[in-house]
């Protein structure tokens, strides 16, 4: 298309001006007598209030996992005083919505409503938390639906690959699966859910975050009035994860697949580690953004993959580096070779100062972008609070990023990104890819779980 360009003088790329640093939001905080910790922030830009509640929810075994998933689907299907329709109708009339989610660490409820309706909004939440009824008919319907929904989820290659990877990393620990099993779901009863609710849907150790057009002191009072009578007992801690083992490359067979889902993963440092800021930047430079080495090589140079990426997840008792690259079946081995090369390069050679500065700016800048909405600020605060970190992170983390050196990045990359320390799972057509992949390492083949 050079033909369409008129000849002009070279233009200079404009410099980036400093961006004002906003004041840290003021967080009003109160821990109620029942153990519930409440955070409230005034953000008056729009007349809504964002709500996030996280409840520690560790439990072991497939039966617990299935009950927890079904509890999340049925929490809002009835209380002592309101049926499912009334709850939904009342929430909607407040301009409100609430949804639930559960994983191996916590049970979460999130949503928003018109800020003037904060008190009745909290009233619906409190009623559900204190007297969810799990009506047998509603539980039966949602159970059947959840069985079908998990079958659909387990047909997605990204889910199959993740389940195989987590199983590989965590064995029989609760972190080994995100999705419950059919048989366990089928056995979960409404009585099980009522017992689980009584045992675990508890304010002890729970954190409620409110952000929006609310006066923080009044919001704390409103929460205390609505939820002060919610009671429960302390949760059990999440058990330690098993020792990491790498082993051969696992190929999970998916006959006829037009792509291979390449996954590598291993332990990463936790958020409270002094190496955390350096790890954030190492992961970014490796595969955490479009300007990363992984994208430059595998997408923009080789054209092997649409969205190759590397990321770090933090759970309560583990942190995990994951590399995810989906490639056409016939380039599986060459793509895996490039992934191993880029990992090895990170682990053995210093990054360039320009790469480090770019990653630093990106990490700090996107933290600011992610907290620029009420919803984003609420989610960020809730997540930080769950990890025992306060709002000062928004100020201190960019400052910590600014002091990371290339040597710091090399040190953490050597321990986290080195390919010899990672487990490898490939989901793809084993008959087609096995021989070429075997040239890169020992193999074993597994059927999908």
């Amino acid at each position: 298309m050079t033909t369409t360009i008129a000849t002009t003088t070279k233009r200079t790329i404009p410099a980036v001006a400093p961006t004002r640093v906003p004041d840290l939001p003021t967080v009003a905080e109160r821990t109620l007598g029942n153990g519930l910790r409440v955070l409230a922030v005034n953000r008056p830009a729009i007349p809504l209030v964002e709500l996030r509640l996280r409840i520690p929810f560790a439990g072991a075994g497939p039966a617990f996992q299935a009950r927890a998933a079904l509890l999340a689907e049925t929490l809002f299907t009835g209380t002592a005083d309101r049926d499912r329709l009334t709850i939904a109708t009342d929430l909607q009339a407040l301009g409100g919505a609430l949804s639930t989610g559960v994983d191996a660490d916590r049970f979460a409820i999130g949503g928003s409503a018109l800020a003037i309706n904060l008190e009745p909004f909290l009233g619906v939440l409190a009623e559900v938390l204190r007297s969810a009824a799990y009506p047998a008919g509603e539980v039966a319907g949602e159970r059947a639906r959840l069985v079908d929904a998990t079958a659909v989820a387990r047909s997605q290659p990204s889910v199959i690959a993740r389940e195989a990877l987590l199983g590989r990393l965590y064995g029989d620990h609760p972190y080994a699966s995100d999705i419950p099993l059919d048989r366990q779901l089928a056995e979960a009863t409404d009585a099980d859910l009522r017992a689980l609710h009584a045992d675990r849907v508890s304010p002890v150790g729970a954190i409620l975050t409110l952000v929006g057009a609310v006066e923080p002191g009044a919001a704390l009072d409103a929460v205390e009035a609505a939820l002060g009578g919610w009671t429960g007992s302390a949760s059990t801690p999440v058990p330690a994860v098993p020792a990491h083992r790498t082993g051969p490359i696992v190929i999970v067979d998916r006959p006829g697949a037009v792509q291979t889902n390449i996954r590598l993963a291993g332990p990463a440092v936790n958020r409270d580690s002094p190496q955390y800021p350096a790890q954030r930047l190492a992961a970014t430079i490796f595969g955490g953004y479009f300007s990363s080495r992984l994208v430059s090589n595998i997408r923009e140079d080789k054209g092997y993959s649409y969205s190759p990426r590397g990321s770090v997840e933090h759970f309560d008792v583990a942190s995990q580096l994951t590399v995810a690259v989906d490639v056409a079946t016939d380039v599986t081995a060459p793509a895996l070779l490039e992934v191993l090369y880029e990992l090895g390069r990170m682990a053995t050679r210093a990054v360039g100062p320009d790469e480090l500065d770019a990653a630093r700016q990106y990490a700090a800048g996107t933290l600011a972008l992610s907290t620029a909405t009420a919803a984003g600020l609420a989610s960020t605060l809730s997540s930080l609070a769950g990890a025992g970190i306060g709002i000062e992170y928004l100020r201190d983390h960019p400052a910590a990023l600014a002091t990371v050196t290339v040597d710091d990045v090399l040190a953490v990359a050597a321990s986290v990104l080195g390919p010899s320390g990672l487990a490898t799972v490939l989901l793809g057509d084993a008959a087609v890819i096995s021989a070429s992949v075997a040239t890169l390492g020992a193999l074993e083949t597994a059927a999908p779980a």
């Binding site: 360009i5 961006t19 509603e138 079958a151 387990r154 479009f290």
Partner: protein, 445 residues
């Protein structure tokens, strides 16, 4: 009903080269969004070149006069920002969200590629491969891939612009040439065929000066006449079936035609409200009927437009119902129940309070979306591009508040009075789900 509405200031300027500029300052957070929307999408790509509008969007990231390959992402991200582009039936957008100090950088980058991208054969070949991987990930290698955004239009429409696959056929993508790219750019990427939205933390006067500095000398070029894509509303039902070899459960999509969202906004809004009446939350009509009472579907949703944004597509577009259902629950019974619920709305009207509560949540949803600077930029740009009314971002809650229960009933009746388009997806995969204990790891096999 009176609904809370935002009140973002909105200014409009048209540069001498025809570029329409919308400035919407808001100092809440030190964040700025820049979005450029070109008035061309995959409905305008030529026959024999399916997928070209989307491929061209990728090519716009491959460099321009003063920006090398891969430099656009690097400049934006090293300034602490994010970026992307997307291709829709009627427009293609390019956008950045950045700390406000990077505003001029984003304007420069967008202006440079509006003058002309610089594409080599090597980069074209590379991006054809990347797009093919995108299609493998999102369509070919997954169950329900492209269902129904790719597979329903050929049931509902007869003409190439409306019916063809916007992701494109692999053979046609591979045939794309540099000459195709040059003529597509010449035909559709004139400044007079685009809108620039600048939204967030800035002062309008200096921001407009920066816009003039960087975009003012982009040469004016002829603006293409916008074709009509109109097709008659079917009077009889159209129906097709496809087999999805990877899907464990069947699925169903039903498409209906709706009023022209640009020419008849008042007539169109009740259909937007109707989507929420039908499938927004546990109190909505189809959730109650299909999920809770009949238990005939696993999941059901309704939306307007190809990708679910009711305000970014011109006529003709579809009102779509999408459901995934167990094999033992036949499609005919689900369709019959949908008909009954639409008939009930059309004849009995809405229940007391039903419209008020749906409008309250709808207004809250609009406020929540507009709180996001990038979403706000996208909205004002499409409102300007398609309606010349970026102020709609502030006005829509009020307009939704004026929608009457009778109008929603009439919308339901209008769906019933036409020939709907039905696409049945048959499950080609037996459900192979977690009936077994989880594998504890590869070594145990």
């Amino acid at each position: 009903m009176s609904l809370p509405a935002p009140s973002y200031p909105v200014e409009r300027v048209t540069l001498a080269n025809g570029l329409r500029v919308v400035l919407a300052p808001d100092r809440t957070s030190p964040v700025v969004a820049v979005a450029v929307h070109y008035d061309v999408g995959f409905r305008s790509e030529p026959e024999g070149r399916t997928g070209f509008a989307h491929l061209f969007e990728h090519l716009m990231f491959q460099g321009s006069e003063n920006v090398g390959k891969a430099e656009h992402p690097k400049f934006v991200q090293a300034a602490g920002g994010t970026f992307n582009g997307s291709t829709h039936p009627d427009f293609t957008d390019y956008f950045e969200l950045l700390p406000s100090g990077a505003l001029e950088l984003a304007l420069f980058l967008e202006a440079d590629r509006m003058r002309a991208p610089k594409i080599t054969q090597e980069n074209l070949n590379n991006q054809i491969a990347v797009v093919q991987e995108e299609i493998r990930v999102n369509v070919m290698n997954r169950p329900y891939g492209g269902f129904p955004w790719i597979s329903l239009p050929p049931v509902a429409f007869d003409t190439f612009p409306n019916a063809h696959n916007g992701y494109g056929d692999f053979s046609e993508l591979q045939a794309a040439s540099l000459a195709d790219a040059g003529s597509f750019f010449d035909d559709y990427y004139a400044p007079g065929n685009a809108v620039l939205a600048v939204v967030g933390d800035f002062d309008p006067a200096p921001a407009l000066a920066l816009v003039e500095r960087h975009f003012g000398d982009v040469p004016a070029r002829p603006v293409p006449a916008r074709p009509s894509f109109a097709e008659p509303v079917p009077t009889t039902e159209r129906r097709q079936t496809l087999v999805d070899a990877l899907a464990p459960q069947p699925a169903l999509a039903v498409g209906y035609r709706v009023p022209d969202p640009v020419a008849d906004l008042t007539g169109y809004l009740p259909f937007v409200v109707l989507t929420d009446i039908l499938t927004s939350g546990d109190a909505s009509r189809l959730e109650r009927r299909l999920v809770q009472k009949d238990r005939s579907v696993t999941d059901v949703g309704t939306y307007l437009g190809t990708f679910g944004d009711p305000f970014d597509q011109r006529d003709p577009l579809l009102f779509t119902i999408r459901a995934v259902h167990p094999t033992e629950s036949p499609a005919e019974a689900i369709l019959g129940a949908v008909d009954e619920e639409l008939d009930r709305l059309a004849t009995d009207g809405l229940a007391d309070g039903e419209l008020d509560r749906v409008q309250a949540r709808l207004a809250a949803g609009l406020l929540r979306e507009a709180d996001d600077t990038l979403a706000r930029a996208s909205s004002v740009a499409t409102h300007e591009l398609q309606r010349g009314r970026p102020e709609l971002i502030n006005e829509l809650p009020g307009l939704f508040g004026e929608v009457s229960a009778d109008a929603v009933s009439a919308a339901a009746a209008a769906l019933r009075s036409q020939g709907r388009s039905v696409l049945e997806l048959l499950a080609g995969a037996t459900s192979k789900s977690g009936g077994e204990e989880p594998k504890s790891g590869g070594e145990d096999q």
